[in-house]
C-alpha cells in the first residue's frame, strides 16, 4: 500500500469521527426544538447548530481529501508527492478542529471586535471557524492542491479525470478565501457568502465527487476509463452549465436585482435533468454487472448516492425553487428538509462507498458482505428519509401558517412553530434522528470489524 493510501485511511477515520460528532450535535439541536429550555444558556441552539453543520462540512471535506489521496497513486502509478507534508497537515487540521470545537463549546462567543473574529467565532453560517483556523484550512487545502498537481507533473501524465480534478481545485481553493470577509453590508455579505457556499457545494464539490465516483466506478465495476471520462465531462458540462447560474436561486430575496428571480428559477429548474441522467446511468451500471461485485456495501452506497441525489436535490429542490413558491418556503424547515436530503444523497453516500472500497483493499478482504452493513445502510437511509419527510411536514405547516396566512411577523412565526403539524413533524424528526444515530453506530461497528471477523465460508466466495 502506498503511503498516500495510509494517509487516506487516517482522513477516513477522522471523517467518520466528525460524522459522529455531527450526529450527536444534530440530536442535541433536534431536542432543543422539542424540549424548550434544553441546555439554554449552557450550550445554546446556535452552538449545537454550528457544531452540527461545521462538522458536516469538515467530514465531507476530509472524506473527499481521503478519497483523492486513496485513488491518486493508483491513477498515476506512483507515490503522492509531498505526502509527508500531507500527513503533518492532517494532524494540524485535526488539532485545529479540536481547538475550534473546544472554543465553541467553552467560550462560545466574544464581544463585537476583531479579536472575536480571529480567535472565537466569525458568526457566518458554515464558516463560523475563527480566522486563524480558516487560515489553517486554507493551508491544508493548499498542500492538498500541491500534492495533486506536483504528483501529476512528476508522473508526466494528465489523465482526463486528473485534468478535471486539477481545474476544479483552483476554485475550491480560491472560493474559500471568502471565509475571511467581514462585510458590514448584509446584502453584499450574503452575496459573496453564497458564492462560497453554493459554488463550493453545487459547483466544485459536485465536480470533486464526480471525479471520485469516476475512480470508484473503475475500481468497483471495472468500467473502462474512456467511458467514465466521457461521462465525467458530460456531468461537468451539465452540472456547471446549470449550477453556476443556479446560484441565482439564493439571490431572490437578499436585496439583489429582480432579474435573479428569472435566472435563478430557470437554471435551478434545469438542475434535476443531469440528476435523472445519473439515475439511468446507475441502473445501467448495476444491471449490466447484475449487481455482481466483491464489495456489495460500496455498490449499494453508490446506488444510494444516485437515488438520494435525485430525490434530495432534484425532487425536493424543484418543489421549492421557483420564486413564486420560494417566497413561502424560503427560510423554513422546508429548506432544512431539502438540505439534509441533498447533502446526504449528493455527498455522504458517495464517501461511505469509497470508504468501503478502501477498507476492502487495505485489509485485503476478498469479498465484503455479511449482514451488518445492511443494517447500517437501512437504518441510516430510513432514518434520513424519515427525517426529511418529517421536516417537510413541519416546513409546509410553517410556510402556510407563518408566511401564507400569518404575514411573516414574530407573532406569525410563533403561531407557525406552535402549529400541531409543525410540532408533530419536529417530534418525528427527533425519533428518526435517533434511528439515524443507531445506523451510524452499526456503520462504525461494521467498518471497525470489517475483515477482522470470522472469515466468510470459502464456498460462498466468488472469484475476485
Amino acid at each position: 500500500m502506498y503511503k498516500s493510501q495510509q494517509v487516506a485511511l487516517k482522513y477516513f477515520a477522522a471523517a467518520i469521527v466528525l460524522f459522529g460528532i455531527m450526529v450527536v450535535a444534530g440530536l442535541l439541536a433536534a431536542t432543543q426544538y422539542v424540549h424548550n429550555g434544553f441546555l439554554l444558556n449552557q450550550l445554546d441552539f446556535s452552538i449545537t447548530k454550528i457544531l452540527h453543520i461545521d462538522t458536516m462540512i469538515l467530514w465531507l471535506l476530509m472524506g473527499f481529501m481521503g478519497s483523492i489521496y486513496w485513488f491518486l497513486p493508483g491513477e498515476l502509478n506512483r507515490e503522492t508527492e509531498g505526502i509527508k507534508l500531507a500527513e503533518i497537515m492532517f494532524y494540524i487540521l485535526c488539532g485545529a478542529i479540536a481547538i475550534v470545537a473546544l472554543v465553541f463549546i467553552v467560550v462560545q462567543y466574544g464581544g463585537a471586535n476583531e479579536f472575536s473574529m480571529w480567535f472565537i467565532n466569525q458568526g457566518r453560517k458554515y464558516v463560523e471557524a475563527p480566522r486563524w483556523a480558516a487560515i489553517g484550512i486554507v493551508l491544508v487545502v493548499a498542500v492538498f492542491c500541491y500534492n495533486i498537481i506536483a504528483t501529476t507533473i512528476k508522473a508526466k501524465k494528465v489523465t482526463g479525470i486528473m485534468g478535471v480534478l486539477i481545474v476544479d481545485l483552483l476554485p475550491l481553493f480560491a472560493l474559500y478565501l471568502i471565509a475571511f470577509a467581514s462585510i458590514t453590508n448584509m446584502s453584499e455579505d450574503l452575496f459573496w457568502w453564497w458564492w462560497l457556499v453554493h459554488l463550493w457545494v453545487e459547483g466544485t464539490w459536485e465536480v470533486l465527487i464526480g471525479c471520485i465516483m469516476a475512480f470508484s466506478l473503475m475500481q468497483l465495476l471495472g468500467t473502462e476509463r474512456r467511458i467514465v471520462e466521457t461521462w465525467l465531462y458530460i456531468e461537468v458540462a451539465l452540472v456547471l452549465g446549470t449550477g453556476i447560474l443556479g446560484l441565482g436561486h439564493h439571490y431572490f430575496w437578499i436585496g439583489t436585482p429582480g432579474y435573479w428571480l428569472a435566472i435563478g428559477g430557470l437554471f435551478s429548474a434545469l438542475e434535476p435533468l443531469p440528476l435523472l441522467g445519473m439515475v439511468v446511468h446507475a441502473v445501467y451500471d448495476a444491471g449490466t454487472h447484475r449487481m455482481k461485485t466483491t464489495n456489495k456495501p460500496a455498490l449499494y452506497w453508490m446506488m444510494a448516492e444516485a437515488f438520494g441525489n435525485f430525490l434530495g436535490g432534484g425532487v425536493f429542490g424543484f418543489m421549492m425553487t421557483l420564486p413564486q413558491i420560494n417566497l413561502f418556503s424560503h427560510g423554513t424547515q422546508w429548506t432544512v428538509s431539502h438540505g439534509h436530503f441533498a447533502f446526504w444523497g449528493a455527498y455522504a453516500c458517495g464517501i461511505l462507498s469509497v470508504i468501503y472500497l478502501a477498507l476492502q483493499k487495505a485489509r485485503e478482504i476478498a469479498e465484503v458482505n455479511g449482514g451488518r452493513w445492511k443494517w447500517g445502510f437501512a437504518l441510516l437511509n430510513l432514518g434520513m428519509v424519515g427525517m426529511v419527510g418529517a421536516l417537510l411536514i413541519s416546513g409546509i405547516a410553517q410556510a402556510f401558517y407563518e408566511r401564507a396566512i400569518g404575514g411573516s411577523t414574530l407573532q406569525a412565526f410563533i403561531e407557525g412553530q406552535s402549529n400541531m403539524w409543525f410540532v408533530q413533524g419536529i417530534n418525528a424528526r427527533l425519533i428518526f434522528g435517533v434511528m439515524f444515530a443507531l445506523g451510524y453506530g452499526v456503520l462504525v461497528y461494521d467498518l471497525l470489524t470489517l475483515g477482522k471477523r470470522k472469515a466468510v465460508q470459502p464456498a460462498l466466495l466468488r472469484p475476485a
Binding site: Y233, G258, R403, A404
Partner: protein
C-alpha cells in the same frame, strides 16, 4: 459519431463553464452596484434617521419598503460617518454572537428563531415589548430586550443571554432599522407592519 468522442464533451464542459462564469461575472458587477449602500435596492446607512415602512405596491404586486420623513433613532441624528460606525459595530455584534445560527437574515441562517429582515417594523415591539419593558420608544424596548432576554420571556423558546452591552445593543437596533429599508423583491411576504396594522 461525434458524441462518442470524449474530447467533444470535454469541449462542452469547458465552454459551458466558461460561458456561465462570464455571465455570472457580468451579473455580479451589476448586482454589487445595486446592493451597495445608496444603490438601486439598498439605501444609505443614514436612512436610520428616517421613518421606514413596508407596504404593498399594487403596480409591482409585492411589498416594498417606503422611506418617510425624519424619524430619529435614540433621539439623535447620525451623520454619514456615525451611521457607518454604528453599522460596522452592529454587523460585528451580529457576527460575534452568531445571531445567524438561530435567526435568519433575508431568510438565510438557522430557523430556530424569527427572521430579522423586517424585525424593526414588527408590530410586536409596540404591542408587547414597550409595555413589558416600560419603554417609551421601540428602540429602547429592543435594547432592553437584547441586553436581558431572560428577563422578558416571550414564549416557550427563549433567547439566551449573550451578554450584549448597551453600545452593542444600540448598534444592532440601528442595523436592523437600516436592514428593514432594503428592497428584497417582496420578501418577507405579506408582512404587516405596526403602521399598516
Amino acid at each position: 459519431m461525434i458524441t462518442q468522442d470524449p474530447s467533444f464533451w470535454r469541449a462542452g464542459a469547458i465552454s459551458s463553464t466558461v460561458v456561465m462564469s462570464i455571465v455570472l461575472i457580468f451579473l455580479t458587477v451589476d448586482s454589487l452596484s445595486a446592493i451597495a449602500p445608496g444603490g438601486r435596492n439598498v439605501p444609505r446607512y443614514t436612512v436610520i434617521n428616517q421613518a421606514i415602512d413596508y407596504q404593498f405596491d399594487a403596480a409591482r404586486n409585492r411589498s416594498v419598503p417606503v422611506i418617510g420623513g425624519e424619524q430619529l433613532l435614540f433621539g439623535r441624528k447620525y451623520s454619514e460617518k456615525e451611521a457607518q460606525a454604528l453599522m460596522d459595530k452592529g454587523k460585528l455584534t451580529i457576527q460575534s454572537r452568531a445571531c445567524i445560527d438561530c435567526h435568519t437574515f433575508f431568510g438565510n441562517g438557522a430557523y430556530y428563531a424569527p427572521d430579522l429582515t423586517k424585525a424593526w417594523l414588527d408590530p410586536v415591539w409596540k404591542q408587547m415589548w414597550m409595555p413589558m419593558t416600560q419603554s417609551n420608544t421601540r428602540e429602547e424596548a429592543m435594547v432592553k430586550f437584547l441586553m436581558d432576554p431572560d428577563k422578558y420571556p416571550t414564549w416557550g423558546r427563549q433567547m439566551p443571554n449573550l451578554r450584549i452591552t448597551r453600545v452593542e445593543a444600540e448598534a444592532i437596533v440601528g442595523y436592523l432599522k437600516w436592514m428593514s429599508s432594503i428592497d428584497a423583491n417582496g420578501f418577507p411576504f405579506g408582512f404587516k407592519t405596526a403602521e399598516t396594522q
